[in-house]
Amino acid sequence: MKVRVHVSLKNGVLDPQGRAIHHALEGLGFQGVNDVRAGRLIELDIDDGVTDADLDEMCRRLLANMVIENYRIEKVS
């Protein structure tokens, strides 16, 4: 099964990369972008025996840094 783990910065954590991307978009002349937050997408191909609890554990122990990041698990197929 394919699983996508979306890792994003928690609300309230300043995102220097998002800010730089926002600035670059404005530099290219794009208007109307109010905010940009950059995250990370991690795709996993897992056996059927891997449980939701296992996936949570993977996210908490490695894929996301719970001090600054949230994660969302999306099962693709």
Binding site: V13, P16, Q17, A20, I68
Partner: protein, 225 residues
Amino acid sequence: MSLNAAVVTFPGSNCDRDMAVAIEAVTGTAPHRVWHGDAELPAGLDFIALPGGFSYGDYLRSGAMAARSPIMRAIVEAAERGVAVLGVCNGFQVLTESGLLPGALMRNSGIRFVCRDVALTVENNQSLFTAGYEAEQRIVIPVAHHDGNYFADDATLDRLEGEGRVAFRYAEPVNGSARDIAGVLNDRGNVLGMMPHPERMIEAAQGGTDGRALFESVLKGLVGV
């Protein structure tokens, strides 16, 4: 009595030799060199240093992979037994990623890699690592990092400040760190993480010697000389 020290090398560490040279120059004893894949530390260590660099290419997050390497299990256990642990730059990132220190080190607020001498204020000169400095002493130590922007929630920052666990503070804006924090101690005071590189300020030829007192403090605190 001599200081029984170790310097850990991860794939991508690049300040491990500088750290080993600094420790030997100040303490008179060459440290053990430990590889990230080792499962055990040398017996009877007093002091472990995690050096700067780009361990595992900074994949995933700076320090994230190194924090899960085999040797880190032994280092976490040693720290919990009270062995002194210093993490500099990437070593600081490894310490936060491993949970030995609170908070996280994010991309510098100005996005750019910052590589220059910076002024620091010694905020706590009562710790194992800082007893050789004067209270509020102004020192100059170089930084060289992309991810040195210290973040922790307000409650954690208040606790760190209230408990005297901010060891060093930047005396000038450097990287966007919360409350200008440059180095933090764990609650027991035997683990210090800092972004600036004290091992690069040991001999006058390096442009200054403000890093010496840190290693002298450790030597005096652990060996008594």
